[in-house]
Amino acid sequence: MKQHCMRRRIVTSSLAIALMALLAAIVVPGASPSRSTSGAASGTLTIGIGQDFGTLDIRGLGSAASFSILRHITEPLVAFSPTGKFIPDLATSWQQVTPTKLRFHLRQGVRFTNGDPFDAATVKHSIAKVLDPKFAAWDNSYIAGLVKSVTIVNRYTVDVNEVSPTTRLIDGLTTVDMVDPTYDATGKMKTHPIGTGPYEFVSFTPRQQLVLQRNPTYWGKRPAIAKIVVRIIPDPSTQAAALLRGEVQMVNNLPFSFIDQVKKHKGTTVATGPSARLVFLAINTKKAPLDNPLVRQALNYAVNKSAIVQSILKGQASVANGPCAPLTKYCRTDLGYAYNVEKAKSLLKEAGYSGQPITLTIGAGRYPNDDVVGQAVVSELQAAGFNAKLNTIDYSSLGSQLSAGHGTSPFDMWLQGWSADDNDLIGMLQALFTKDAVYPIGYNNAKVTSLLNQASHTVNAAVIQRDLSQAEAQIAKDAPVVFMYVPKQDIGISTSLKGFTPRFDEYFFFWDSRLS
């Protein structure tokens, strides 16, 4: 009886294993014939994003994806091209009339979709609203402290008066969308946004989908795609499956494990582009032995960045050679630390490092494979003679623990990223490497601070170039962080989506795209 039972159990278990193997065989990547159905013929573009819209007001708090979508409805005065050049949008031209006065000439005859005109009063209202601390606009910090006042010169000319001479205001204004003052007062921007942009809002079903259609009264070039449906698909694997199935023509969140399959599959491909994001290991520079620049330089030499990029990040990043991403304006790319264990060891000896423990904290889940990157870094640090340990926590805990310290870091080192999404290197370096830094790195070099201050308060490009170049070199030398890598963007798209290129700021817009 017992033996019979045993035999039956063996039979059934092997049956189970065989069944699983069969299922696995069916789904082996690449083995599947193409069945991508084109849902594109109707002129409707469907895309999948991971996060729901919290609010439909573009000025509210959302994700890069929700900002991208809502940017089809509202427009700024000046926008960035995909590579970070200024392009006129609702302002046709602008000039620095005095060192502290930026004059905008507005596009004439533009109307909001409710019929209200766009003019100087719109600009004054829109900028004031973002500056209003009570309104809590997401981009408040991009222009707060730079704008003194806004003066209406005539119906189509506006002066923005600056607190001090600077070139940075124009960068910040690319984030400020023009909103109809009358409509804004109704409070309906949150639920039914309107604007002057190439598309207008149709409907939103929370946690399911948002629909846009071409704005028939748009002032500019008529977009080729008539309708955009944004589906909310939280799981990245399901997003990839929906792309392969042909249900969506773009997903913004492609897992590494699907990149090859999406490339091989007939009808889909991967659009890859650089980002303006620097990923680094922030260091608590106030704590011994990390307060010693020699130790921090040793950390930089000890980490094999190119091996991490190749093997853990599958080549979907490039090694950082300085405190910024190469496509950010004024970024130097000659300041990297080449991997050199011997150099790291001799620096440690010179610094008199005596084996104090150093813990690297990873807030896992923010960047692809970040937990594995942490493991690799720690083992490389150990190989160079550091007494290094790994501490992996979840990403939301990392952020709150960092801010809970009120300027004092609870960690020795942690993985962090920063995107210069407004192409403003001065702002980025101030946010990371001065005493007013967003993170408790604790680095404060008088020379760097004054160079950044000078660059911030001038309109002379040559001076900015010179000062930033020196500041970057000083930061690289002092090594307040371990410069790691600049991630690439991997966007899964259908081959029927034409004219789509990844942008430096990681946003995605479709008014120049078409479907074949």
Binding site: A16, E247, S396, S403
Partner: protein, 322 residues
């Protein structure tokens, strides 16, 4: 024999006892619910993570985060926050979502029917397949029993996120038969139900098999055979009638638990139910939403539990004394 003279009296005693029983059980449930609110409230706030920081993003200056915390009332003492929450509950106010600013009640109101549909369909599939398979496994262990055994084994062994992904890759991507995900018509329901049902199916098979098998050994079944009744009649009238109550209990409790527990399947299939709502809210530390979902899930479980217990009490007088 004794019941005749005291017939009426005993009935009224029974009635009184069951009213008392119902009251006692309801009171227990209310206390449990209150405890659940405390546990959830405190656990959420003890867990690291700051909703204000998460909303503003990693590049926002600390001063902005601090002022948002203040606006959201998150800088008030914990007990004051809890008291506000509890006071709201007593007037039926579940609070407002930190992120989206909608009322938690309306968020749950939109999400709960979708979860009930999913869980209901999965339960129906599990019951309709599981009871015949379970009976077969009990009475015909060689034929249908072997099939039932394999199904039960796989159903409990395969994790549903894996099964769900395989189902998507096979039936949506490879054969292009069904949509990968989303909420919509019947076609959208098929794959998530297939991912969710197996575990409950396995449970139904096992419990039915065990229960039917036990009853099959009872004297009255032997008597029924001896009387020459047909096998089907014995199964339907004498066996199943007695064997099914435990099955109903297990199904009801498990299905009620699944309302809060279909999280993985809902996220995978982009099914906008309360599980997916809760996961998002946890990631974003949207405290009021998490509290609301947990409260509703606990409430549902307690109500079903109470109904099951009362049902038992109704059927089996011995249960009333416990």
């Amino acid at each position: 024999m004794l019941s005749c003279p005291f017939g009426h009296g005993q009935d009224s005693i029974t009635l009184r006892m069951s009213t008392e029983y119902v009251l006692r059980r309801t009171l227990q449930s209310v206390v449990l619910l209150l405890l659940a609110t405390i546990v959830v409230f405190m656990l959420l706030r003890l867990a690291p993570g700051d909703p204000a920081r998460l909303m503003l993003g990693e590049q926002a200056p600390a001063s902005e985060v601090q002022s948002l915390r203040h606006n959201l009332g998150l800088d008030r003492p914990l007990m004051a926050q809890y008291w506000l929450y509890l006071r709201g509950l007593f007037v039926g106010n579940l609070g407002t979502s930190i992120r989206g600013q909608q009322s938690v009640a309306s968020l749950i109101g939109q999400a709960l029917p979708k979860t009930l549909l999913l869980v209901g369909a999965a339960t129906a599939v599990a019951v309709l397949l599981g009871i015949p398979l379970g009976v077969g496994a009990a009475l015909r262990p060689k034929g249908i029993g072997a099939v039932a055994y394999v199904v039960a084994l796989l159903g409990q062994a395969i994790p549903n996120f894996w099964l769900g992904l395989v189902l998507i890759l096979v039936f949506a991507v490879h054969f292009a038969l069904l949509p990968t995900s989303g909420y919509g018509g019947v076609a959208h329901l098929v794959l998530p139900v297939c991912a969710l049902a197996p575990f409950l199916l396995a449970l139904v098979i096992r419990v039915t098999r065990q229960s039917v098998k036990e009853i099959d050994l009872e004297d009255f079944i032997r008597t029924a055979y001896a009387k020459g009744l047909s096998g089907w009649r014995i199964l339907a009238v004498h066996n199943l009638k007695n064997a099914l109550p435990p099955v109903v209990t297990v199904v009801a409790l498990y299905a009620a638990g699944m309302v809060g527990g279909a999280v993985v399947v809902e996220v995978l299939f982009a099914w906008p139910g309360i599980g997916e709502l809760a996961v998002n809210a946890i990631v974003e530390r949207d405290y009021p939403v998490v509290q609301g979902v947990v409260l509703v899930a606990v409430l549902l479980f307690l109500v079903v539990n109470l109904l099951v217990d009362l049902g038992y009490a109704l059927l089996d007088p011995r249960a009333r004394l416990r």
